[in-house]
Amino acid sequence: MVSLHIRGLLKRFGDLVALNRLDLDIEKGELFFLLGPSGCGKTTLLRAIAGFNLPDEGTIHFDQDDVTRLPPHKRETGMMFQSYALWPHLNVFRNIAFGLEERRVSKTEIKSRVEEALAMVRMEGLGTRKINQLSGGQQQRVALARALVVCPRCLLLDEPLSNLDAKLRVEMRSEIRRICKEFGLTAIYVTHDQKEALSMADRMAVLDAGNIAQIGTPEELYRTPNSAFVAGFVGETNLIPGTLAFVSGVNHYVRTAVGELAGRIVSPGWSPAPGQPVTLSIRPECLSLDSSPPVQNAIAGNLTESIYLGETAQYSLLCEGRELPLHISELNPRRVIRDTGAGFYASAKPEDIIILPGS
């Protein structure tokens, strides 16, 4: 296993800048996620690491090796494709054995290593199956086994779970994480599913239009996003534009269309001056709903919708001076408020209102 070091990576497709001088370090044994909306460059970055597209500028190092110009077949990465790319003319065993055959491994060793790989993905005894006789989940396991059996320097996963149904997807999440941790793999995992990233990643990077918007652990990205984009992409949030009014201790007071709200700044090294435009991010689960006005950070509005989901109840509050309703989610609701049309107050603690740069 290796660590990865990417410096100033630039890739253009015609006029489109897919990767914009990107820097990234991934540690040995880390399960690293690339997260972002479609077209943000995450797959381009993964394919650049695999060697399927050559960057226009910049370098990629595996430990100290410069692999920037190395062709894909010499990089010894193990890649799992979104479509799995299992060859239908070879059976399960031959698919997994392929990489070992290319590496001139002896017949007996191939046999034992493929058996081992099949056991690792819990597919013992299915080596003689044809690819089209496998279910989606089984194909996914074979693709993983094929990538792992060659002991790659790093494992690259391109939206590996996107073709599976919801239940299987949740199951395979822990399965892939178990395998990665058990074998100490350096793995880079591309997805647009933020739940997948939050639940599996050691660290993750959110990409936006070819730039890394933020890097950190799942908690860091969720709790202390550095921009409205990251706050909106990782998890659900309410974004409220406003202007910084004044600062009092740790609390920053922001004037918005729904009233003056007190929040905190979480990005180190950023301190806006009063009068500067900012954006507030308030997670739905940080808001609570009351019929009487709370002391601090009260936002008045009319309840337009209430949805009961068992473990949570979700409310929409339409506030004056704001087009989008405010989303509020109550964990473990004992009593669901169903008085739609009635006036209510939403409020959040200042430490749960994150102040981010304005757009």
């Binding site: 597209n53 894909p72 890649m79 790319a85 299992l86 094929r146 990538a147 073709n163």
Partner: protein, 564 residues
Amino acid sequence: MNKSLSISIYGFTAVFFALFFVFPIWHTVQEAFVTSEGTVTFAYFAELFRNPIYVEGLVNSFYMGLFTTVLALLIALPLALISNTWQFRGKEILNSLILVPLILPPFVGALGVRQFLGQSGVLNTFLIDLGLMEAAAPFDWLGEGRLAGIVLMNALHLYPIAYLNISAALANLDPAMEEAAENLGCTGIRRLFRVTFPLIMPGLFAGATIIFIWAFTELGVPLVFDFDRVTSVQIFEGLKDLSGNPFPYALVVVMLVATVLFYLTGKWFFGRDNFSGSGRASTGKTLRPASPLTSAFCAGTFSLVTAIAILPHLGVILLSLSHDWYGTLLPTALTGQHYEDALGHPLTIHSIANSLKYASLATGLDILLGIGIAYVVVRTRLPGRQLLDAMAMLPLAVPGLVLAFGYLAMTREGKPFDFLILGEDPILILVIAYAVRRLPYVVRSAAAGFQQTSVSLEEAAQNLGSTPLRALCKITLPLITANLIAGGLLAFSFAMLEVSDSLILAEQQQHFPITKAMYALISSLGTGPNLASALGVWAMVFLAITITGAGLILGKKLGALFRV
């Protein structure tokens, strides 16, 4: 559509196929096994295999099919791989030019080849001029290597079919399949043999089958080359004394059995698994931009192949323009007289009108049948619809010669279908013959259209009050017009170029289609070959226009029309 309408379409097409596909074949087979006294016998076959001339004919036909297929694949495979790997300058235009030979009638091209390689042809003249050959003893290239000449002509005509099939197979391949191999350390030639070839084998096989069957039963080219040691020509010659001679029937049956056997063996070895559609492509294939040197190499290869393939037809054009071209490098004098004569000659004028008439009626019939069959196959769940689909594709696998022979036999006087010959006019049977042979192209393109057009579009119309039939006519048919036009154009062009049915079924001069008129002109003396060439050039110009149209409309999907 409602069930009763589907069932009636199913029934109608099934009856049509039974009468005009199964019955003629059955009729021929029967004649080969039954004596004039009505007893079943295998004597004709025993006799046939004892006759060295017939055996030689069969062996030569087999060689003709095999070598043509191998040569066509050798030409097409590198071209398809180049085209699927690099983006080079002028690719679009070269990609369509490479297909042009397909629509040049090969037996007309053979005329051109004769002009180049004949005893007093261009090559010999050139060698004599250089002093490398005695003028008194010119070498007979075609006499010595006639089979080679035929194979070359056929391969140069048929390689586009392989090219289209292989290109389509390569384009359908999920690029991740090849990338996965590269990721695991397998690249270049090894990857080609371990991953790419096995995966495109079904496409390769589909192309190879059509080429083999086509070449194995080719009639026009050996006729023009005057080569009677192949089964197809022997059957054609045998027609002249059809009355009592059972051998043509027996030969047709042998040919039919042979093609079916070759087809099944091939399918068993190469076509067992259909890999197409396995796994959705995750990334579009990006073609590598070629360096100037590579670009020149790619463009050069494409141009060279095209140039060689159309050389015979350039010969035809020259021949059609030449006043006198005998024993010289180039025609000594040019003239437009032949074109004028060709249009004034009673034979040709009639033949052009006849061909247009037969081909358009056949195309119309094909489009009707094609829409019906494609609809039943794609849109309904009727049991046995796959059988209908398979049946509609079968004409690709059955030699045209076999069918033509069957039609002839079943419309003879006193036979059940002699009413189809109106007086002496073979129009009905020719239209049916043309239509049956070209039906696969129309069915394939219509079916492709139905598959691409979501059924929910029709359902939406029904939901808003259209009857199922109106929904089909108002929504789906307009959406698949492009497919229908393309399939129809192909059916039309190939009907115009048809050789076996035309030569065998049109017996009176005033009913000759173009191909038979050309054949008659070629065999006549004087300016006959020049006139035939002029007629051929007219036909080529015409077909070039239609096929370019089809290519523009369908693009890469054109390849799908040549699948079995």
